[in-house]
């Protein structure tokens, strides 16, 4: 299959190597500031709250709530031609960060999906080096 027909895969950068390594190992990590205690997604070299560079990695407990979603019917990229309809989401982790993701294990019907519904972490293997953190309904 030509490259452009594949789902786009992330190309990790120096500040995100650890994030993607941990995802491959089945863990979701994010940054917490050692100076002000703020948490942030996505990984950077500075805290966007206080500008400290004293950042540590925290592992998420993998629980959160649905902040918003869309049900995608028209593939926005050739790599998603066989994936529609699928559910994109912004998930609010219980630790306080919001992150983009997809919902799995639920019908792509508006009536089935509630903002605020409880979600838990799962992983989807994209290729040999990348696993994507995704979310499914709790229970």
């Amino acid at each position: 299959m030509p490259e452009e027909n594949n789902r786009p895969a992330p190309i990790p950068q120096p500040e995100s190597d650890y994030y993607w390594e941990q995802a491959k190992a089945g863990k979701l990590v994010f940054q917490k500031c050692g100076a002000c205690g703020s948490v942030q997604f996505f990984p950077r070299v500075l805290c966007t709250s206080c500008n400290s560079t004293d950042l540590e990695w925290i592992e998420s407990a993998g629980k959160g709530s649905l902040f918003t979603f869309s049900i995608v019917h028209q593939p926005p990229h050739p790599g998603f031609r066989n994936a529609v309809p699928y559910i994109t989401a912004i998930v609010e982790l219980d630790e306080g960060v919001k992150m983009p993701s997809q919902l799995i294990g639920i019908d792509p019907e508006p009536e089935q999906i509630e903002i605020g519904m409880r979600l838990e972490l799962a992983f989807e293997e994209l290729n040999d080096s990348i696993s994507l953190p995704v979310f499914r309904p709790v229970g």
Binding site: P8, I11, F42, F69, S70, P100
Partner: protein
């Protein structure tokens, strides 16, 4: 923070003296994007009664000014490739005013050209950028998906049914304006409320007709000093107020999905111009999606947060209504090549000059043009006045 007193000093010191589209809009496979820039540039300069040799300031987005100026064969002494999405060209007008006031240039040319429909070589995105790393792998790609997620959050906060009705009102009223504009893609195609609700899903909650067109088109604007404007071919349109900025790039980083940056740029532009909402005769608000219009009306302060659905009810934004909005037919029904913002200014100028034929609104002396770029990321607002 912007210094309003200093901004007031340059309010009205420069004017838009030329606006134009490319010769053809819609499906234009026989023109490259740069050819659309050039065509629109020549048309806008002709509109102003000026020539390429008069131009000493060059502004564009999407492409670098290097490419466009080289294609045109000019050597600008002020150059600005600010490229923050479809709002960029609205910002360029403000940048041109500032550059002219400071003395960097005297005749500013702002060009746009995109073959959204027919491009043989679309520009790829940097695969290491945060957006391509963290959102693209999930299929959060392109405007419809991102704006749809913002709209779904708005529905959650302010009510799904009344939001849906507002989106339909905007789609239908905008189409009515397009039906009056011979250059609009959907000039000959009316849209009913039933057709709105029956339209297929692109990214729920968006129907196809909640989404803008994808066309080929170019446009250009010429700005010069208020003094020199008096010698130009047509009535000058004075730039009275402006504001710009952005607060995120990826939709998942947007601080509040129902509050875009127009919350800052709208009030700033009005204050700089020394006018209020009630003084405005026309609002040209970038309609990448029906939701973009709904949320922007609130953000700019035309109504309070969550009151947009009441504000646009009963087709008040349609021809003959009390609040003329997007009189060209907008990105939804006139043209939208990818970064539509420049066309909000083109239409505002034409309305202020009184040259829009069947869709001309009465006594149009003060207009607001507002661009939104990226994924509800950046906004630029202008207040323009007839001279």
């Amino acid at each position: 923070m912007p210094n309003i007193q200093r901004l007031k000093n340059i309010s009205g010191t420069a004017a838009i003296v030329g606006v134009a589209e490319s010769d053809s809009l819609g499906k234009v496979p026989d023109r490259s994007p740069l050819a659309l820039h050039a065509e629109a540039a020549l048309n806008a300069l002709d509109d102003a009664g000026l020539q390429l040799s008069d131009v000493d300031g060059m502004f564009t987005a999407g492409w670098s000014t290097l490419d466009v100026a080289e294609y045109l064969g000019i050597e600008p002494r002020f150059t600005d490739s600010t490229s923050v999405g479809g709002s960029s060209f609205v910002m360029h007008v403000a940048h041109a005013v500032a550059a002219i006031a400071a003395g960097y240039c005297e005749v500013a040319l702002i060009t746009h050209g995109q073959s959204g429909r027919s491009d043989r070589a679309p520009i790829p995105r940097n695969p290491g950028a945060p957006m391509t790393q963290y959102e693209y792998p999930y299929g959060i790609i392109g405007p419809p998906v991102s704006y749809a997620m913002a709209c779904r959050r708005y529905m959650h906060e302010y009510g799904e049914d009344r939001t849906r009705q507002a989106l339909a009102e905007i789609a239908v009223s905008t189409r009515k304006w397009a039906n009056l504009n011979p250059r609009a893609y959907f000039h000959d195609r009316p849209l009913s409320f039933d057709e709105y609700h029956d339209s297929r899903w692109v990214a729920w909650p968006f129907h196809l007709v909640d989404c803008c067109l994808v066309t080929d088109a170019g446009a250009a604007i010429v700005v010069t000093t208020a003094e020199r404007a008096r010698d130009c071919r047509k009535g000058a349109v004075t730039v009275l107020g402006a504001g710009e900025g952005h607060d995120h790039s990826m939709i998942s980083q947007m601080p509040d999905l129902t509050r875009a940056f127009g919350r800052n740029t709208g009030p700033q532009a009005l204050e700089m111009a020394g006018v209020s909402h009630a003084d405005l005769d026309l609002a040209m608000i970038y309609d990448s999606f029906t939701y973009t219009v709904l949320v922007t009306l609130e953000n700019l302060g035309f109504c309070a947060a969550g009151e947009g659905p009441d504000f646009v009810a009963d087709q008040v934004t349609a021809p003959g209504g009390s609040f003329p909005l997007n009189t060209s037919g907008g990105g939804l029904s006139y043209t939208h090549p990818g970064m539509y913002g420049i066309f909000t200014v083109v239409e505002a100028v034409r309305q202020l000059r009184g040259e829009t034929g069947d869709r001309q609104i009465d006594n149009c002396d003060l207009a607001l043009a507002h661009g939104t770029g990226g994924l509800l990321s950046s906004t630029g607002t202008l207040v323009l006045g007839s001279s």
